[in-house]
């Protein structure tokens, strides 16, 4: 399918909102791909981290917010520490997750954890995963 490209008000607003929430300048990215090359979970992703930021640059809001990638980021900051332009992609991912409608729907919530597992999990992992993936 051909993606229709347009940078209108809506797209600009999306880009602005992502930049504002994340504090990251998406225009800095020159697509070297280093984030994807080092990402420990890129093999599971439908869109590589560099593609996410590229699509934000292009204003492809729908593609971005429907991507599985947003829920594969472990905030390990490998990309951030090696990015030649100093972009913090973990912040970008978190910002995009916040923009997803409808608000209030958990991508991953308490009901998704089996009881048996819940008993052996360390507290911090539960706090962390809810903080990241539930609203």
């Amino acid at each position: 399918m051909r993606v229709k490209l347009k940078i209108g008000e809506e797209e600009k607003q999306f880009i602005e909102r992502v930049s504002e929430l994340s504090g990251q300048d998406v225009y800095k990215c020159y697509q070297c791909g280093r984030c994807s090359a080092g990402c420990p979970f890129a093999f599971e992703m439908d869109l590589l981290p560099n593609q996410i930021i590229r699509m934000v640059q292009m204003g492809l809001q729908d593609e971005v917010i429907h991507s599985k990638t947003l829920y594969l980021c472990a905030s390990c900051f490998t990309c951030q520490s090696r990015c030649p332009k100093g972009i913090d992609l973990a912040r970008l991912m978190e910002a995009i997750r916040l923009l997803i409608e409808p608000k209030g729907k958990d991508q991953f919530g308490p009901n998704d954890v089996p009881t048996k597992l819940a008993n052996e999990l360390p507290q911090q992992v539960l706090v962390a995963v809810y903080r990241k993936f539930s609203k």
Partner: protein, 310 residues
Amino acid sequence: MKLHYYPGCTLKEKTTNLDDSTRAAMEVLGYELVEPENWTCCGAEFPLTEEKIVGLAAPTRILRQVELEGGDKVVTTCAFCFNVLKRTNEALLKDPLKHKRINAYLRDDIKIDPLTKKKTTDFAEYHETVWVLHLMEFIKYQIGYDKVKSHIKRDLANLKVAPYYGCRLLRPAGEVGIDIPDDPHIFEEFLENIGCEVVDFPFKQECCGSYISVSLPDAASEASYQILRSARYCGADMLALSCPLCYYNLDRRQDRIKERFFDFTGMPILFFTQLLALALGVDEKVLGLDQHYYDPRPVLSKMHKTEVVS
């Protein structure tokens, strides 16, 4: 000497071995660890967007408590807690407006005395006087390796240990790192100085899967497997680390890794404080070595039991 120490929630529940070994080792080194009164969870994850600023309130409260108790530094062993506390401190330091906003939350705190039911309000602000340190930093910069060495009672020279940093001790770069993210040495130095044989391996700063192990367990076990495989390939007997979550993924989840990767035979995972306590001659019974999924005791039996004359 008294020292403020923030254990964090997991150390009180699932990884008491990290807490116990820390206390025992620090006692040998002459420190009494004091927990800030009424401490809460730090939040585990540092809030990454400006909209979630309220997430900074909990860690700031902990820091304020240390400040109120007259502490100028707080030491943590859990990598997550260290990460959150240190970044919170830095964020407030860098951004006076944020600092003000968080202090506004803190001032409005309410405390109800369980006995008298009296409400206390109008709490103090946090003044940015606390220094957040990871125990490994505290040992290097405040205690000094020479002092540690002078207390060593057991020879660990036969233990081939791979230091595993994971993400939270080193990254984000420029914000938190206890060392250079892609060329760290502090863990190696620590292990060397307590007498272990250090095994360098290329996955030492790779991510173990973190909280992805709950939402997408298979992906996380693959990440964990790669780390353990590499450490084994490089000749390590065991992996040393500082993060209860990495410990969970790398030790407790070895059952899952074994199911997926047939060549995997298992490897003991130890907290760096357990090794420290062992070197300092602490009684093994205190260290919770029986809590591990992969029992480290057979491998640990390689160390010389004889006391070192120091």
